[in-house]
């Protein structure tokens, strides 16, 4: 009898700790009910994307109680905070455009938990946490592949902010450029212990040598693999609007070919006229709807993409109006950066510290000979108070051989090699780049842009 009593107490104790997934029972149910009603909307065949969009928005707006339920759940409030940098993702959370994953694994004293995804036809945002009593500072190296383990193509993977404390939501973003989001994918998180690296002092490098950064594999303390399967209700969301509007800026003709509207972002796709003398490499712009609501360029993540073999950046991203029910959208362009076609490569003479031509406003100050190469120093005007990268990450020798520029540094001034004085500027910044193993003479650099257009009156283009 006593044994049975103890068994009873043990069984009760076992029931005291239900699985964490139980906490989201009601949320899963609500999402499932929405899908059940939603699937009736999709029950007919051959619904257009525009039609699917309309159904989803109607259902969201007719079910305010779900939004209320969301506001009561602390974890979703954490998600709202975690996406505060993106108005598109904030809107997605507010409209419960969130798929709960709730998968957790523990290995070697580290617990990784994939909480949610916000996913559409082209972009996947994964929100997860790491917990550990053993390691104070953990960072992940993420990888994705298909569910069957085969490689995926045509995507970029972005890791979220560095230094997020254990237990707080972190994010990973996967962008599919041309192909659509798969039905699911396999996420691998290699978790590294950064506790030691933060507290150790930086090594002091001798002044007569260029620093050679050697890649070290971090100390991985755990590896997790999660199979993520996406709700088709989300992965089908997206709409392409043909535009075909041409406009002129600074003597160059561009055509806004189309706009792709996804819950997570908007892509504006451009073509450049063949007669243009410069490539478009950056665009300052915003979208505005009929109510004056503004959708700015993305501030975190991919802001623009180009095509292989061309310096032109032909696709630009901004925050989405997906949940704003806009009837009309207008593109307002306030500035652009161009790379003149005759300035794609700049020839520099390191011995005379001269150049054939320089990007607008850039000054070539000095070329210091070091034991293992050259350190080049430039200054450039700040743009809206910010510094930027002047040069691309490659240099070419006189014979055309290509080399990498592994790093650069930006600061307010530089030490003049002849006088030893520290030189600073007003409204300019200094950039120094190392050319490892360079012997001097003639080298070629590729500027990121050669001139800038700032429009006092924005160039406006009707999107829809």
């Amino acid at each position: 009898m006593m044994d049975r009593q103890m068994e009873y107490k043990a069984l009760l104790a076992e029931l005291e700790t239900p699985p964490p997934e139980l906490a989201y029972t009601v949320q899963r149910t609500q999402a499932r009910v929405k899908k059940h009603r939603f699937s009736r909307c999709f029950g007919f065949s051959a619904g257009t994307l525009a039609t699917a969009f309309l159904c989803f928005v109607l259902l969201v707006n007719l079910m305010p109680t779900f939004a209320l339920a969301c506001s009561r759940v602390p974890v979703l409030r954490d998600l709202a905070e975690a996406v505060s940098w993106s108005s598109s993702l904030r809107a997605a959370v507010e409209h419960e455009y969130v798929q709960t994953i709730a998968q957790e694994q523990t290995k070697n004293g580290v617990t990784a938990r994939v909480e949610y995804v916000i996913v559409d036809q082209k972009q996947l945002n994964i929100f997860y946490t790491l917990r550990s009593q053993t390691y104070d500072h953990l960072e992940v190296y993420p990888y994705i592949c298909a569910l069957d383990g085969t490689a995926l193509e045509g995507y970029s993977l972005g890791n979220g902010e560095f230094g997020i404390p254990n237990g707080e939501l972190r994010s990973i973003t996967a962008d599919f450029m041309n192909s659509d989001m798969p039905d699911g994918l396999r996420l691998t998180l290699k978790v590294a212990d950064f506790s030691r690296s933060v507290s150790e002092p930086a090594e002091v490098y001798p002044n007569d040598r260029l620093e050679v950064i050697e890649h070290e594999d971090p100390a991985f303390v755990a590896e997790f693999t999660f199979d993520l399967r996406f709700d088709a209700r989300f992965t089908t969301q997206g709409q392409s609007i043909p535009v075909g509007e041409a406009f002129t800026m600074d003597g160059q003709t561009l055509i806004l070919r189309d706009a792709e509207i996804y819950p997570t972002h908007i892509r504006l796709n451009f073509d450049g006229d063949e007669t243009n003398t410069a490539w478009l490499v950056a665009l300052d712009f915003y979208l505005e709807n009929e109510r004056g609501q503004r959708f700015d360029t993305v501030s975190n993540g991919i802001s623009a993409t180009g095509s292989v073999g061309s310096p032109m950046m032909d696709s630009y991203r901004c925050e989405s109006d997906f949940f704003a029910n806009s009837q009309h959208l207008t593109l307002h362009i306030t500035g652009a950066r161009w790379l003149d076609k005759d300035l794609e490569r700049v020839k520099l003479d390191l011995d005379t510290v001269t150049a054939d031509a320089m990007p607008e406003g850039v000054i070539f100050h000095q070329a210091e000979r070091k034991e293992n190469g050259y350190l080049l120093t430039f200054s450039a005007p700040k743009r809206e108070g910010f510094s930027y990268s002047i040069w691309d990450s490659s240099w070419w020798g006189e014979a055309g051989e290509k080399h990498d520029i592994p790093y650069g540094s930006t600061s307010i001034g530089y030490e003049d090699a002849e006088t030893g004085k520290y030189v600073t500027f007003e409204d300019r910044f200094v950039q120094q780049i190392p050319l490892l193993d360079c012997e001097g003479g003639t080298v070629y650099l590729q500027p990121n842009f050669s001139r800038v257009t700032v429009s006092d009156t924005p160039v406006s283009v009707t999107v829809r």
């Binding site: 069984l11 029931l15 239900p18 997934e21 149910t29 109680t65 779900f66």
Partner: protein, 153 residues
């Protein structure tokens, strides 16, 4: 009853539902799935609930039906051809012994002594008289050799 109230009340009893499902089905994953399904079915059929005051016992009944369905799917016998002998129950771990009980005794013991239902709540959930609850719990406790209070705590 609106969906918000349903959500609040379902959340309040989800652990009781889970315990019930766990003892029926024996695994966390199956129990979670059964609870999910029961709450889902309940939300879909909310308009059919004639007496909103009894939502909790109504959901429990849906859950138990869901568990029975899962057990049938597994081809487990709900009711053995002959009752398991008292000696055999003694030899089994408690969790297994509970699962071997005849269904009418099993449901009472789970709701009363693991999910925390009162006699009245158990009676409503199983749609049986309260007196029948008393009789069945006594019989189940005897078979399991458990010395527990028979009255509501």
């Amino acid at each position: 009853m609106d969906q918000q109230e349903f959500a609040q009340r379902a959340e309040a009893i989800r652990e009781r539902l889970y315990r019930t499902a766990y003892l029926y089905l024996g695994s966390q994953a199956d129990a979670l799935e059964a609870v999910d399904e029961a709450v889902y079915q309940g939300l879909l059929a909310l308009k059919k609930l004639r007496q909103p005051a009894y939502l909790e016992t109504w959901l429990t009944r849906i859950l138990i039906n869901q568990c029975k369905k899962e057990l049938r799917r597994r081809n487990w016998q709900e009711t053995p051809a002959e009752e398991t002998s008292a000696e055999l129950y003694d030899a089994l771990p408690l969790k297994e012994a509970i699962r071997r009980l005849p269904e009418d005794l099993r449901s009472v013991i789970i709701l009363r002594y693991f999910a925390g239902y009162t006699q009245r709540e158990t009676a409503r959930s199983l749609d049986i008289p309260q007196g029948t609850v008393v009789t069945r719990q006594r019989r189940a406790l005897a078979l399991l050799r458990l010395d527990l209070e028979e009255e509501d705590g």
